[in-house]
Symmetry: C2
Subunit: 334 residues, 2 copies
């Protein structure tokens, strides 16, 4: 009779996933950022669902349009990481019956604005009464057959890149982020990336997902990690010292634990909800990628490390000296 | 500042749906039982999501395998009504962190057993902490292009059919029902039905959905409605009298209102969660359908009425005498 909080989210998912049936037309199932299924001769389809829950992913005071933006943006960010084109979505709404219609309307306006911007149709869903406001978004995307970017293709020697800046998303970015759909499709079309993921749980955890699925390790130069200004604005910056990152502990919710006692680096590694792309590129193409990227996009791109052979092992370096990190980023239930 | 409870579910959905963007490849969107989208030259895809919430669709005492069965069965029932073949599903789980792993495992075993029986792969989903246990299932189905059975094709003169028996599902059927996938595909392949729906909200409400989308009316012979034995087993049968069905009122939840003071007919019309098929067939094919059905299926099939011109109007007859019904079946928020 084990309670979930003792197992943690990854173990819960692992145990439940083991029970579930597959089909021969499933190219990538549970364990990947998105599911990839064979649609027809020309295209594969991407399937992705995600949820936002009041008190965890947004608050009663959050501007409602941003709630809708975040609910849809989260799944679009996963389609982006795979290199897909969004097509259709369904939205399940759970709401207390006392909720105001004006708030729901603004939430759906936020959803609709983002959907329209990316050519996505919202074609259905379900409404149910429940104790807390929740939005569950299910999205279908498409890409040319066999071209989906997954977590599983990183190889030793590949360079690790990240878009824009990381950390401090709670200051606002977690509600206003831009899903990197254009960048993801460009990476896929140019066959640049060997593995991709979107940063939802924090760099430390999400990098670990790539390493696990690709069966490789990584060496990360922490002084290269682009730290968001929001991290410094919100509190006095604290210096890392003694090879130890301060206050880098597991968190249970964006809203349940204080941010204090964390260094800027710890924020960048562990805050989560950056919704930037993390991806790997063969080292011989890294320079060409950076040049081509800068011609195409204004989005910042930074090389932060390299893939190594040491399966599952991350070496965090600060100006050449190894750092000890206590734990990974965001994980539910714990 | 209108609260949802003053508007009712249908009005809430109508207002929110008006905000949402579509695409040219959407053949049927919000307002239909399932969304139908153009997949490729040969096939259309069906998209459907639904949710079950503890305290509303199941209880803490419900056998957990049946919770999983119900969560998936609900969406399969909608794919069945459209005549589709289930392919892939995603499952969003919301759970309190104190939940027992053993209960979740049994819920997922219920899901997996039903999925396996119908060749469906469960390819992903999301887990989130929340105040109540919920399962949101998103399913994708397929059928030959342009053949989806919808709510919108009923024509005056068509005969109204229903499968099996109705009412009293709370006695157990709402957890153990069989999605009528084989029947739905057979109806679609044989081009028998002009409109279909699965009975989730009760015959009165769901028939109304067909009438609304088809812009027709109906005359229903209530003495023909096949009433489930569960209705009689659970309480002393009450007789309808004076052309008035007793206690036929709106309910807010399967579990929130007492069942007492309802006639058997009121149960059959309003209980909901029967998950049988309601469909219309051109009158010249009705006899042939019944013969072909009996050769193919053991599932009971009953003609209960005819479609009329009077848009949106249902005439309920009991042995030729009109009955007055106070209100329709199950609707959320009110």
């Amino acid at each position: 009779m084990t309670a979930l909080k003792k197992l943690g989210e990854r173990e819960v998912i692992r145990r439940l996933a083991a029970l579930l049936p597959s089909r021969p037309d499933v190219r990538a199932g549970i364990g990947h950022d998105v599911a990839v299924v064979a649609g027809n001769r020309a295209y594969d389809f991407l399937l992705k669902s995600d949820a936002v829950v009041e008190g965890r992913h947004f608050l009663p005071t959050t501007p409602p349009r941003q709630i809708g933006h975040k609910a849809l943006g989260r799944v679009l960010s996963d389609l982006a990481a795979a290199g897909g084109e969004p097509l259709w979505a369904l939205v399940n709404l759970v709401t207390p019956r006392g909720e105001k219609m004006s708030r729901l309307r603004a939430i759906y306006q936020g959803l609709a604005t983002l959907a329209r911007r990316h050519g996505l149709a919202i074609v259905g869903g379900d409404t149910t009464e429940g104790p807390a406001l929740e939005l569950h978004v299910f999205a279908v995307g498409r890409l040319p057959r066999g071209t989906a970017l997954l977590r599983s293709g990183a190889r030793p020697g590949d360079v690790v890149f990240v878009t824009d800046t990381l950390g401090g998303s709670l200051a606002g970015k977690h509600l206003r982020f831009i899903p990197r759909l254009a960048e993801g499709r460009w990476l896929r079309a140019g066959d640049w990336a060997t593995a991709t993921i979107d940063l939802s749980d924090g760099l430390a955890t999400d990098l670990d997902h790539i390493l696990e699925m690709s069966r490789v390790g990584a060496k990360i130069f922490t002084e290269k990690i682009p730290i968001a200004k929001a991290v410094f604005r919100l509190r006095p910056a604290r210096r890392d010292y003694g090879g130890q990152v301060q206050g880098f502990e597991k968190t249970n919710s964006l809203f349940s634990k204080p941010w204090k006692k964390r260094s800027p680096l710890a924020h960048a590694l562990g805050d989560g909800e950056d919704f930037e792309l993390l991806f790997t590129v063969p080292c011989c193409q890294a320079v060409a990628l950076e040049q081509a990227w800068r011609k195409k996009f204004r989005t910042r791109l930074t090389a932060i490390g390299v893939i190594t052979r040491g399966a599952g092992k991350i070496v965090w370096l600060k100006n050449g000296t190894p750092l000890t990190l206590h734990a990974a980023g965001f994980e539910h239930f714990r």
